[in-house]
Assembly symmetry: C2
Homo-oligomer: 281 residues x 2
């Protein structure tokens, strides 16, 4: 594939008191694929190598949710409110039916959006994410890397590698390549308000009830593709098994030698799997 | 895809005192993909809808191992000996390097073959299978269905549906379709000796040691694709998680609303995933 770059100019649309920033590109026709980014990320945090493959076959919509990146407003402190804002944005674009791809906290929002708006969503990709009340593996170094503010360029890279990649040379090397691709397109950082609000939302979402039966996942009758790396230190991979076993129609793909950032470590292969899933009968 | 049928004429090759029956077709060039069939099955037990998609892109080799179907000799009572016979067959064909796909007991043989002949195998697909000393979920109805001899046509179909498919209407309907495709190409059944010998081999292979660390899986450094349905009643799906977490380079795909027979329930999609895996860089 020739080198793909995500368009750098945002469009804007006002709805529900928020001015949402977004970028729409790729094919003109077909069901759009709307992306929900990870903790602290903006629409400039998607690996262009992955997005490029998917843009060949369908309309792509990247956006900043309320309070994030180039969008106005405040980031709410619950996943449910984030999903409500996302629905407002999608409706404002005049879209009746979309496919969605949620990564990490973006996967929490994607699940919540489907529960709130079951008719808005055709198919769902849940990458490096988990159900509400899933399995936690709290590690101090992981929490510190997630919440670090400031620090130099090297700290940022090392945090990214710790949180998104495996300890092997192959995984770290792939991580550094992806980091450079993302960094080269990144103009806007999220504010401290985003960090605080998203942390509250994550804390509420991930609170564990070991008796949990995940009954509500039965309501998500859409076809779902669940993905992760074999060892995710932020959202433990076991959560992907739980999603697959409790969603009525979920396919699971686990990638080797990788973690949370599996979709950026294998951008072409991951995009190939997503395409196969979205295009299947 | 237009309707594909597996060639009905077998070729034969003598090696190690065995006259091996096989069918080679598909593309003339490229790395051949050699298939290892399930318990009691012969080379006529592969779903042609799955085989057809793969035959478009590579040479396909189906064969009956020693004592099975149209091949001469006795079926040995250990997985290790079955792998030795398979290596004899592959070498006799003059092949230096192959891809292999093992289904169920065929996946046990495939793992053992790679451990015995690490240079013979490039990539491995392990479908509906588990590691030695994996997780068992012994069910009396499953064992009875596995070992039934005689019975009428309807018994055979009901056993196939119980062992290979889920309880839902969608899974059973797909199972009946696949069963008809397979039945229409089936001329030769395996003998009672195959059943007895394979049962002994399975019993030895699946004997559980709960302290098992699966260290030997680290020696399988090839890229592996592990697949199963979300609820396999014969080789519990948890075994696919164990394989993926302990093999150094394994990708996992789990299919929804399906079991052991996932590859026949989603023949085109499964073949698409195998193709993507085998062709990836």
């Amino acid at each position: 594939m020739s080198k793909f770059t995500i368009p750098t100019e945002s469009s804007y649309i006002e709805a529900g008191g928020i001015r949402f920033a977004y970028r729409k590109f790729g094919q003109e026709t077909g069901i759009p694929l709307v992306f929900f980014i990870h903790f602290r990320g903006t629409m400039e945090n998607w690996d262009p190598n992955m997005i490029g493959v998917l843009a060949e076959s369908r309309p792509i919509i990247l956006f900043d949710n309320a309070g994030v990146g180039e969008s106005s407003g405040e980031t709410p402190t619950t996943v449910a409110e984030m999903a409500k804002d996302a629905a407002t944005f999608i409706k404002a674009l005049g879209l009746e039916r979309v496919d969605i791809l949620g990564f990490s906290i973006g996967g929490f929002v994607a699940q919540e959006l489907v529960l709130q708006q079951p008719n808005m969503v055709r198919r769902i990709v849940l990458a490096g994410t988990g159900p509400q009340s899933g399995v936690n593996d709290p590690r101090k170094d992981v929490y510190e890397a997630m919440t670090q503010v400031g620090g130099d360029e090297n700290d940022a890279l090392e945090n990214f590698l710790l949180l998104f990649y495996g300890p092997t040379e192959t995984s770290r090397t792939a991580g550094i390549s992806s980091y450079k691709r993302i960094l080269s397109q990144k103009k806007v950082e999220s504010s401290p308000q985003v960090l605080d609000a998203q942390l509250q939302a994550i804390s509420q979402w991930t609170e564990r009830d070991p008796e949990q039966k995940y009954d509500w996942l039965q309501k998500i009758t859409q076809a779902v593709l669940v993905t992760n790396g074999v060892k995710d230190v932020m959202v433990p991979t076991e959560n992907s098994y739980i999603l697959t076993e409790n969603l009525p129609n979920a396919q699971l793909i686990i990638y080797p030698d990788s973690g949370h950032g599996h979709l950026f470590q294998y951008p072409e292969q991951f995009a190939g799997h997503v395409k196969l899933f979205l295009d299947s009968k």
